[in-house]
C-alpha cells in the first residue's frame, strides 16, 4: 500500500501537528490501499518551503501557511486585513465561502485542497502595557508577516520579522518590545515570562491550509478518494477552527486563573481608536495586490460581508 507523507513544520507536540495527527488517526484506518504518516518538526522542510514541497510531491499532504510565500496566494491573503477576523471560525467561513464562489481556484490550481482555515485575530503581547495604538508609537514589535509590519507602521511602530523560537530572547534583550501573535504561540514559547501584558484587540490574522499534491490525490483508488473527500473540505476546516477557538479560550482561561499576566480589555472608546489606527490597512492591502491579477476590491468587500454576517 502507498504511504502518504503528511508534513508539518511544527514540532510534534505543537497544536497543528497534534491536529493533523488526530485527523490522520481518523482517516488512515479507513483507507484501503494507502496509509498516512505524519512528518512533524519540519523534517520535510522549513516553513516557507512547504508549499513548494507539496507541489513537487515531496510531501503528499502538508500544513502550509500561505502568507509565508509572499505573492503566491494573493486572494487568500485578504485574511490579513485588520478588523475582519476575531475567531478562527470567522476567518474559516470567509475562506471557504470565497473558495466555493470560485475566487480562490486560480491560486490553488497546483494543489488539491484538503482544508482552508485561519488563525484567530492576533493580539498584542508586550513587556509594557499597551492600551491605545499610540502606546505602540516608536516601539519595535515582532510581526507575523510583511503585511503585519505595514500595519504596525501605520501606528508609528516598526515590525521586525523574527523566527518563532528566537522571539523570547529578542523580547528579553529588548530588541523588540513584544509581539503581534496568537495565544497558542504565547504559551508554547513562554512569552508570558517576558511579555506579561495582553492587549485584547485583534490586529492581523494568518490564513492556514492543508494542501495535497494533485497527482498523489489522483493516484489514489476511487474508494480511497471518496474516504478522503468525506474527511476534507468545509467540514474538516470547521472542525479545526473549532479546535483552534476552544484551545485559544482554554489558554485564555488558564492564564487568567494562574495570574501574573495583565489582560487589557477594550471598551467602545479604546476599540474605536484601534479601528481608526488601522483604517488605512484595507487600502494598503488592495494596493499591494495591484500586480496579482485579482479583483482585490471585490474580494475585500465580500470578505467584509461574510465577516459581518458571522
Amino acid at each position: 500500500a502507498q504511504e502518504l507523507r503528511v508534513s508539518s513544520f511544527e514540532p510534534a507536540p505543537g497544536f497543528f501537528s497534534q491536529t493533523l495527527q488526530a485527523w490522520i488517526d481518523e482517516v488512515s484506518p479507513e483507507l484501503t490501499d494507502a496509509s498516512m504518516r505524519l512528518y512533524p518538526g519540519g523534517i520535510l522542510g522549513a516553513p516557507p518551503a512547504q508549499a513548494d514541497l507539496v507541489a513537487a510531491g515531496v510531501a503528499d499532504i502538508a500544513f502550509v501557511v500561505p502568507t509565508y510565500t509572499a505573492g503566491l496566494f494573493p486572494a487568500t491573503s485578504v485574511i490579513e486585513v485588520p478588523g475582519l477576523i476575531d475567531h478562527s471560525a470567522t476567518g474559516t467561513e470567509i475562506l471557504n465561502t470565497l473558495l466555493e464562489e470560485g475566487v480562490l481556484t486560480g491560486e490553488y490550481a497546483d494543489y488539491h485542497i484538503i482544508a482552508l482555515f485561519t488563525t484567530p485575530g492576533y493580539r498584542v503581547f508586550s513587556a509594557e502595557p499597551v492600551t491605545l495604538p499610540t502606546d505602540l508609537e516608536g516601539m519595535r514589535m515582532r510581526s507575523p508577516s510583511a503585511f503585519g509590519a505595514r500595519v504596525l507602521e501605520m501606528m508609528g511602530a516598526s515590525g521586525v520579522p523574527i523566527p518563532a523560537p528566537q522571539v523570547y530572547e529578542n523580547i528579553e534583550r529588548d530588541v523588540v518590545s513584544g509581539a503581534i501573535w496568537a495565544m497558542d504561540a504565547y504559551r508554547t514559547f513562554r512569552l508570558y515570562e517576558v511579555a506579561p501584558n495582553i492587549t485584547e484587540t485583534r490586529l492581523v490574522a494568518s490564513p492556514l491550509a492543508i494542501l495535497m499534491n494533485r497527482d498523489s490525490y489522483n493516484r489514489l483508488s476511487e474508494a480511497d478518494r471518496a474516504v478522503l473527500d468525506a474527511h476534507s473540505g468545509r467540514a474538516l476546516a470547521e472542525w479545526i477552527a473549532a479546535r483552534i477557538d476552544t484551545g485559544e479560550a482554554e489558554i485564555d482561561a488558564a492564564l487568567k486563573q494562574a495570574g501574573g499576566v495583565t489582560f487589557i480589555s477594550m471598551d467602545a472608546q479604546t476599540q474605536a481608536a484601534w479601528d481608526e489606527a488601522v483604517a488605512a490597512a484595507s487600502d494598503a492591502w488592495v494596493a499591494g495586490q495591484a500586480d496579482a491579477g485579482i479583483d482585490a476590491d471585490a474580494i475585500l468587500a465580500r470578505a467584509r460581508e461574510i465577516s459581518a454576517a458571522q
Binding site: A70, G71, L72, A146, A149, V160, P161, A292
Partner: protein, 158 residues
C-alpha cells in the same frame, strides 16, 4: 596566474559580503541603542548578504580542491592511493556539482518571472534564485578545472 587572480577576487567579494552583513547588524545595534530605531529589513539583508558570500566561496573551494575530505588511505600509502583516489574524488565532485547546477537552475527557471518575493525586503525570488544557480554554474566550472588538474597530474606521473 589568471586563475589565481580570479579566485582571489571571488574570495575578496565573498569576504566583503560577510563584512557587509556584519556592518548592517552592528549599525542596527547602534541605532537601537542610541536612537531607539531599527534598520528596516536588517535581518533579511544580513542573512542574504552572508548567504551570498558563502555561495561565492563554494566555487573557489571546488577549483582549489579545498573541500572537507577525510584523507586516510592516501596518508597510509600515498604511492598506491594518492592519484587514483584524487581522480575518484574529482569525478564524484564534478557529478555532484553538475547535479546541484541542474537542481538550482531548474528551481530558478520555475520561479523566474513569478510573483513570489522574500518576506521582508520584497526581493523577487526568481532573480535571487538565478544568482544562486549562477554560483553553482561557477562551482561546476571549478570542479571541472580541478578534474583536469588531477588528470594531468596522474598522466605526468604515469
Amino acid at each position: 596566474m589568471k586563475r589565481g587572480i580570479l579566485s582571489h577576487v571571488t574570495l575578496l567579494l565573498a569576504g566583503s559580503c560577510f563584512l557587509l552583513g556584519a556592518g548592517a547588524t552592528v549599525w542596527d545595534v547602534i541605532l537601537r541603542s542610541f536612537a531607539g530605531r531599527n534598520l528596516p529589513g536588517v535581518i533579511e539583508f544580513t542573512t542574504l548578504s552572508i548567504g551570498f558570500g558563502a555561495l561565492l566561496s563554494i566555487p573557489v573551494c571546488y577549483a582549489r580542491d579545498q573541500k572537507v575530505t577525510a584523507r586516510l588511505l592516501s596518508e597510509l600509502s600515498p604511492r598506491l592511493f594518492k592519484h587514483a583516489l584524487g581522480i575518484l574524488g574529482a569525478v564524484f565532485s564534478t557529478v555532484f556539482a553538475a547535479m546541484m547546477l541542474w537542481i538550482t537552475a531548474q528551481f530558478a527557471h520555475s520561479k523566474w518571472g513569478g510573483p513570489e518575493t522574500t518576506q521582508d525586503l520584497m526581493l523577487p525570488m526568481g532573480i535571487l534564485l538565478t544568482v544562486v544557480a549562477l554560483t553553482f554554474a561557477a562551482s561546476l566550472a571549478g570542479a571541472l578545472y580541478n578534474l583536469v588538474i588531477k588528470l594531468r597530474g596522474a598522466l605526468r606521473n604515469a
